[in-house]
C-alpha cells in the first residue's frame, strides 16, 4: 500500500523545512524507521523516518527545496507496486500538491522559475512575509532587486512603487565599485610622514578583509525571536545573590560517589529548584495567549544549550516531579543530540519557563531575554567565593547570582521577588531537592 511522506512539523513556529539531502534514493528499499531524508528547520537538521516498509517509489521534491509543512515530499510503496501518483495525491485532499507534482513532471524549468520568483516576491530569507504592493513586486522582479534589501514606506512597512524607484535611483548614483577598493584608499603620502612613531603600525599593513557570511536558519530564527521578544515584551529584572555554600558541598559529595557519566551538575540542581518554585508560582509558569494569561499546569523547563553558530532550548518535561538524576540524564542526552544536530521535536518543544546558565564561564551576573511565549527566564551566573558579612563578621562564602527576566504584562515586581526568595530558599537547603 503506497503511502505519502510529508514534511513534518518540527517546531511550533515552523512553517517550512529545507529538504537538505535525500538519504534514500528512488527505488531504494526502505524499512520502517529508516532515514529517508534530512530536513533543516529553523532550529537544526533533523531526519525524516519512514513510517512503513517497501521501497522509495518517488521523490516529490528535489534536494535543497523548501517545503511547507504537511506537503508531500515522497511516496513509499510496496515492492513492485505500481502507484497512480496523481490519484494518491489527489485522494489525500492535496489538490495543490498533486498539481505541483504534475507541474514538476511536465515542466521542471517552469517550476523552478516560479519558485525563484516566489522567493523574490513574498518571503525574505527569514521566511517571513515581506509586505510589498503587487506593483512593487513586479518592478523588483523586472529590475532584479531583492525586496528583502528594501525598506517600505507604505502602511505597515509595505514596499510601494516609490521605494523601488528610490532604490533604482540610489543604485544609479552608487559610485563605481572600483573607487571603494582598499587600494584606492591607501594614501601614497603615508611613507613620507616621518614624524609618526614607527613601531605602532606598518604602512604596508593590510587588515584581513571583511567577511560576509549568510545567516543560517538558526541564526535567523534566534534573531527574529529575540527581536520580537525585546520589542514586544516589557522585560523587568530581579537579581538575587544566593548562598550556595551547602549546594557546593552537596554537589561535591554527590559527585564524589558517582561515575563521570552520571555526575550531577549545578545546573541540574537549579533546574529542579526552579521547577519546584514554579509549582508555587503558577503566574510565572505562564504564557500570554491573545488577551489571556495561560497558567500552565505542567512545569516544563527549557534549558539553553549552546550549539555551533547559535543556541537551542532543550526541554525537561515535568521537572518538578522528576528526581534530579533523571533530569540530569535527560539533559545530557538531549544536549548530545542537539550538538549532533539530530534533535527530536519533543526535545525542543513545549517549555513553560527557561533557564540560561553561563556559570561555567566565570560570569558575575547577566540578564537573559525571555523566550516567547513564556513569561520569564532565569539567568544563572557562576558560583563564586566572595567576601560576605555573617554575624557582623567578614567571612569567605559561596554566592551565585540569579537574575530573573520577567514579562511585566504577566507578573509584577513583588511576585518576581517572592519567586526569587523561594528559589533561593530551595537552593540554600539543597537536601530538600534530593528528597
Amino acid at each position: 500500500m503506497a503511502e505519502i511522506v510529508r514534511m513534518p512539523k518540527l517546531g511550533f513556529d515552523m512553517q517550512e523545512g529545507l529538504l537538505v539531502r535525500w538519504v534514500k534514493q528512488e527505488g531504494d528499499s526502505v524499512q520502517k524507521g529508516d532515514i529517508l531524508a534530512e530536513i533543516e528547520t529553523d532550529k537544526a537538521t533533523v531526519e525524516v523516518e519512514a513510517h512503513g516498509s517497501g521501497k522509495l517509489y518517488r521523490h516529490l521534491v528535489e534536494a535543497d527545496t523548501s517545503v511547507p509543512i504537511g506537503d508531500p515530499i515522497a511516496i513509499v510503496a510496496d515492492e513492485g507496486e505500481d502507484v497512480n501518483v496523481d490519484e494518491l495525491l489527489g485522494s489525500s485532499g492535496q489538490k495543490e500538491a498533486s498539481s505541483s507534482a504534475e507541474a514538476k513532471k511536465e515542466a521542471p524549468e517552469k517550476k523552478e522559475e516560479s519558485q525563484t520568483s516566489e522567493s523574490v516576491e513574498s518571503s525574505s530569507q527569514t521566511g517571513e512575509r515581506i509586505k510589498a504592493s503587487p506593483l512593487a513586486k513586479k518592478m523588483a522582479e523586472d529590475h532584479q532587486l531583492e525586496l528583502a534589501d528594501l525598506s517600505g514606506s507604505g502602511p505597515g512597512g509595505r514596499i510601494v512603487k516609490k521605494d523601488i524607484e528610490a532604490a533604482l535611483a540610489a543604485e544609479k548614483s552608487k559610485p563605481v565599485e572600483k573607487e571603494v577598493q582598499p587600494e584606492a584608499i591607501q594614501r601614497p603620502t603615508e611613507e613620507k610622514v616621518e614624524a609618526l612613531p614607527q613601531a605602532i603600525w606598518q604602512a604596508d599593513y593590510q587588515a584581513p578583509k571583511d567577511q560576509s557570511v549568510p545567516m543560517n536558519k538558526l541564526r535567523q530564527a534566534i534573531g527574529r525571536r529575540m527581536v520580537e521578544s525585546k520589542q514586544q515584551i516589557p522585560h523587568f529584572y530581579v537579581t538575587s545573590s544566593v548562598n550556595v555554600e551547602s549546594l557546593m558541598l552537596l554537589y561535591k559529595q554527590v559527585n564524589g560517589s558517582l561515575p563521570k557519566e552520571q555526575k550531577i551538575s549545578v545546573n541540574d540542581y537549579v533546574i529542579k529548584a526552579t521547577a519546584l518554585t514554579l509549582r508555587s508560582f503558577p503566574a510565572i509558569n505562564a504564557s500570554i495567549k491573545g488577551d489571556s494569561i495561560v497558567k500552565h499546569g505542567a512545569v516544563h523547563i527549557g534549558v539553553a544549550v549552546a550549539v555551533e553558530g547559535g543556541l537551542l532550548t532543550i526541554v525537561v518535561r515535568d521537572a518538578d516531579v522528576k528526581p534530579i538524576r533523571v533530569i540530569s540524564d535527560e539533559v545530557k542526552k538531549m544536549a548530545a543530540r542537539v550538538r549532533d544536530g539530530k534533535i527530536k521535536p519533543e526535545d525542543v518543544e513545549g517549555s513553560t519557563f527557561s533557564i540560561s546558565n553561563l556559570g561555567m564561564f566565570d560570569v558575575e551576573n547577566f540578564a537573559a531575554i525571555i523566550n516567547p511565549p513564556e513569561a520569564a527566564i532565569l539567568a544563572v551566573s557562576s558560583a563564586q567565593q566572595v567576601p560576605v558579612v555573617e554575624d557582623d563578621e567578614l567571612k569567605i562564602g559561596w554566592r551565585m547570582k540569579l537574575t530573573l527576566s520577567a514579562d511585566h504584562r504577566v507578573t509584577d515586581g513583588v511576585e518576581a521577588a517572592k519567586f526569587m526568595q523561594t528559589l533561593s530558599k530551595h537552593l540554600e537547603n539543597p537536601l530538600r531537592l534530593l528528597l
Partner: protein, 325 residues
C-alpha cells in the same frame, strides 16, 4: 455651444428622436398632460399628440409590459418610470422578458426598448423613494444599463439608446436635472458602453458615474490645491462595462478610489475593484478604496440623509488615504 440643463438635454434628445423617427413614442405616469414628474416631457403632448405621448395608469408592471409588447411589434417605446424604486413592481417584465426574449427565442425578435427612470437620493424622499439600485439591473445579462453624469452625455446617450435595438435601463439622477453643461446641438450621439476620462490627473484614479461624478470633480479641485491630481473616469454605462479607460488610467496612477452612490456591498465599486485586481494586479500599489452610501435604508431627516450619502469630503479623505497608502 449652448449651456443647458440636464433636463433640457434629455428633453432635447427625446424631442429630436421623436421628430426623426415616427416609431418612437413615450408612455408613463403623468408624461402627457402634466408634462412629466420632472418636467422632461413638457410640451410633448401638445406637439406630438396623445397617440405618441401616452399617460398610463399607476402600474409599472403594465407600463413595462405594454412597452415590451409594443417594442416586439416594431415600435420604439420610451417608457418612463417615475422612480427606479418603482421598477421593482415591473421586475419580472424587465428581468425575465425584456432581458431574455431575444436570447431565448433564437433572435427572432429585437426589443428596441428604453426604460427612462430616475434614481438616487438627496431630496428627502424617504427610504423607499431614494435608492440607487443600479447594480441590481447591471447584474443581468441581456439588459444594458446607462447612467449619464453630464448634460451632454445625457443627450448623446439617450439618443443612442433610442436608436439601439436592445432593452436599456436609462437611469437619470433626481438631483442632476438642474445641472448645466455645454451640449452640442442637433444629432449628437455618445456610444453606449464607452467609459471616458472626465478629468486628467496623475496620482489617483477616481472611478465613478452619474451624480457622484459631480462630487468627484469637486473633490478633485480641492485635492488639486493640495498637490494631488486625481484622474476621473466616468463609466457612463454600467453594462456593458468598458474597463479600458479605467485600466489605462490605473496603470498610470497605480492607485484608485471607486465612488458610487449606492450601497457598498455587492455594488458597482465591488465590481470595478475586482476587475482592476483581475486585469491590472501587477500595477496595484495600494489597496483600492470604495466610497459609497452607508449601509442603512436612506433616512428622511435631511442631515441624516446627507450623512448617509457620500459627500465630497468622503471622497477627499478616501483619495488621500489611497494616495498615502
Amino acid at each position: 455651444m449652448a449651456k443647458i440643463t440636464m433636463r433640457q438635454a434629455i428633453s432635447q434628445a427625446l424631442w429630436e428622436e421623436m421628430e426623426r423617427d415616427p416609431s418612437v413614442f413615450i408612455l408613463g405616469e403623468e408624461v402627457g398632460v402634466w408634462g412629466g414628474t420632472y418636467a422632461v416631457t413638457k410640451g410633448f403632448y401638445d406637439h406630438f399628440g396623445e397617440e405618441r405621448v401616452r399617460d398610463t395608469p399607476i402600474a409599472e408592471a403594465a407600463i413595462v409590459g405594454a412597452a415590451i409588447g409594443a417594442s416586439l411589434t416594431g415600435t420604439r417605446p420610451v417608457a418612463e418610470l417615475m422612480t427606479i424604486n418603482f421598477a421593482f413592481s415591473a421586475m419580472d417584465h424587465i428581468v425575465n422578458e425584456a432581458a431574455k426574449f431575444h436570447y431565448m427565442f433564437n433572435g427572432q425578435m429585437v426589443l428596441p426598448l428604453v426604460i427612462r427612470t430616475v434614481g438616487g437620493g438627496g431630496r428627502q424622499l424617504g427610504a423607499t423613494h431614494s435608492q440607487t439600485p443600479d447594480a441590481i439591473f447591471a447584474h443581468f445579462p441581456g439588459l444594458k444599463v446607462v447612467s449619464p453624469g453630464t448634460p451632454a452625455d445625457a443627450k448623446g446617450l439617450l439618443k443612442a439608446a433610442i436608436r439601439s435595438n436592445d432593452p436599456i435601463m436609462f437611469i437619470e439622477h433626481a438631483t442632476l436635472y438642474q445641472t448645466r453643461g455645454e451640449v452640442p446641438e442637433g444629432d449628437y450621439i455618445v456610444p453606449i458602453g464607452k467609459s471616458t476620462v472626465q478629468r486628467a490627473g496623475e496620482h489617483v484614479t477616481i472611478v465613478t458615474y452619474s451624480k457622484m461624478l459631480e462630487l468627484s470633480l469637486k473633490a478633485a479641485e480641492k485635492l488639486s490645491k493640495e498637490g494631488i491630481e486625481a484622474e476621473i473616469v466616468d463609466l457612463r454605462t454600467l453594462r456593458p462595462l468598458d474597463m479600458e479607460p479605467v485600466i489605462e488610467s490605473f496603470k498610470k496612477t497605480n492607485r484608485a478610489v471607486v465612488v458610487e452612490e449606492g450601497w457598498k456591498s455587492y455594488g458597482v465599486g465591488a465590481e470595478i475593484v475586482s476587475r482592476i485586481y483581475e486585469e491590472a494586479f501587477d500595477f496595484v500599489d495600494a489597496p483600492i478604496k470604495r466610497v459609497a452610501q452607508l449601509e442603512v435604508p436612506l433616512p428622511y431627516n435631511r442631515r441624516l440623509e446627507q450623512k448617509a450619502l457620500p459627500q465630497v469630503e468622503d471622497i477627499i479623505s478616501a483619495v488621500k488615504e489611497v494616495y498615502n497608502g
